[in-house]
Amino acid sequence: MKGKKIVAVLLIMTLAVSLLTGCSGKKKEVLNLYTWADYVPQNVIDGFEKQTGIKVNYSNFETNEEMLAKLENTKGGDYDVVIASDYIIKIAKEEGLVSELNKEKIKNYQNIDPIYQGFFYDKDNKYTVPYAPGIPLIVYNPDQVKIDITGYESLWDPSLKDSVGIMDTERVVNGIALKTLGQSFNTEDLTMIKKAGDKLLKLADNIRILSQDQTQDYLISGEISVAFLFTSQVAKALKANPKLKVVYPKEGLGFGVDSLFISSKAPNSDNAHSFLNYLLEGKVGAKVSSQIYYLCPNKASYEFLPKEFQKSLVISADDITNGEFIQDVGKKATDLHNEIYTAFKAALN
């Protein structure tokens, strides 16, 4: 009996010791990056690790809201660099989870194209570095579509019955209905939102699929003939089938910027700054944009972009100033948006 106990105690001790030795090695420099899966290309991460010797720990989330909930639980700690969407960064900032950038440590900061700065979530450019700006656009296959598509309104055309694909994003979908009524995405006029909801119900017959990821695949495979796509999806669709046509909707464009920020209690703040600096290098920026297929916000990168992207990933300042961000609206408007979207989805099957 006693012998067995001694063996057990010894086993536990060796286990404990081996755990301790696991930690007591020479402390390695690390960077904790938190964003969507595959949002930072692997060869960019490898390049950074090679250049600086800092190891990157990549954790991913699926939605902005999931990210914010986790960041809030850690009180702005655990993660160093986060890449997320504009509206959620505004909330994170208000919750005190974002730290001010030390621009002296980001020598390449001046490479940012100023047309991508000064937006609502960071008016004085103190907290963020733009990473992936985008404008959702309509893409269609002219072989399958008989009408001339000019804007959101065309999606309602009866000839498109059961052949439209659209992103499963409440405010974007409700937003295009608002745009066809000549309203802003962010209107708080409840009667207008309600009207948009009624109009949306009439779109239900034309919707073949609501999908957040890889919607372009359905367009490429011919499952749908028209799609309303995020920028990266537009680029991927065109790459697979250059015959597809892109429409800048006449009712007005949407716009969004996924940006980098450093969390308020980042454990490796210095490494975070050198990571941002690295991403802003001209060549690295081009490598990022040409792989994730979002607009390139780095003016030093333009010359390094592969030719096929020179046109699609660099756009004019006009398109951007005309683009409208989707921002948070009051509680009543938010509730109504949720209600009309739920009703829209129920009308789909």
């Binding site: 809201e65 919750e95 994003t169 699929i209 999908s211 948070d328 739920t342 009703a343 989805k345």
Partner: protein, 288 residues
């Protein structure tokens, strides 16, 4: 001597304690948290405030959200009925097989569980999609001319649901049929009952607990399986599970999500209660 006998008994609580702790921390805790959350108030932009409110429950009564519940229950009923129609004969005849084949069939029923359910759903996409496997077979055989739009529809979701929940029905029916005392059926036949009469009056009644537990095992999970509606329904079939997920991850209305979960739990508990009332059985059959 006396001490030695009593020693193990006095320390038995030490072996039970972890189980209770586990239950309290991982089951009762979150449950209480969820109920509490459902009575809190959503902050304008992000988070909740600990202010008592029944607004979330009132919101469920709105026709749009009630409709989601009705849709879910409808789909669950359809799924349950379809699994019963397919699963009952399957389980019944499986129980009558010889020992060797019984084992083999049981193995085949259980094998799909070794693969992740999500992956299996993607398999259905390959079969159903336009110009997919099924379309090719139908068009080659001349039954259809143009690709059918089978995927991203209500029937596709129903098939996915039936497919993933069928084993539970089969196993429940199987286990109650296997336990059956066949001499009662023989007695009925000896007394002049036809095959059908014997089946309806004896077999069906004796296997009723299996049927009912199969119904519960299929019906309740089907209320919450939102990923099937997402993958095979193309986001077009909205169930309570999808609504809860959306409230958490996009609308950020946590109290509403919690309230929906509480109501969903009450509804499902109600079905279990009805099951107990009917069968007077406390354990579900067929849980291996």
């Amino acid at each position: 001597m006396k001490n030695n006998i009593h020693k193990p008994k006095s320390k038995i609580w030490m072996t039970i304690l972890p189980m209770y702790l586990f239950t309290i921390i991982f089951i009762a805790g979150p449950l209480i948290y969820m109920v509490a959350l459902s009575f809190m108030t959503k902050k304008d932009v992000w988070g909740v405030v600990a202010q008592f409110s029944t607004a979330s429950y009132q919101k469920i009564l709105k026709p749009v959200y009630m409709n989601t519940f009705i849709q879910s229950i409808k789909l669950s009923f359809a799924t349950t009925i379809a699994t019963l129609i397919i699963g009952y004969p399957f389980g019944y005849f499986m129980a009558k097989l010889s020992e060797r084949y019984k084992k083999l069939v049981m193995f085949l029923v259980v094998v799909p569980f070794w693969t992740n359910a999500l992956v299996r759903m993607y398999g259905w996409i390959i079969i159903f999609r336009s110009n997919g496997v099924l379309d090719h077979i139908l068009m080659k055989s001349g039954l259809t001319r143009t690709p059918l739009k089978l995927l991203y529809s209500y029937p596709a979701v129903l098939i996915g649901m039936v497919y993933s929940l069928l084993p539970f029905m089969i196993l429940a029916v199987f286990s109650s049929t296997e336990k059956m005392d066949w001499s009662i059926v023989e007695a009925a036949r000896d007394l002049g009952a036809s095959r059908l009469q014997a089946f309806l009056t004896i077999t069906l009644k004796v296997t009723l607990p299996g049927i009912l537990s199969g119904i519960i095992l299929v019906f309740i999970p089907s209320m919450g399986l939102f990923f099937i509606a997402d993958i095979l329904g193309g986001g077009k079939v909205m169930l309570v599970g999808n609504l809860i997920r959306d409230q958490l991850f996009t609308t950020r209305d946590w109290p509403f999500a919690a309230a929906l979960s509480v109501v969903l739990m009450i509804v499902t508990s109600l079905f279990i209660w009805i099951y107990r009332k009917i069968t007077h059985v406390k354990e579900l059959e067929g849980i291996l």
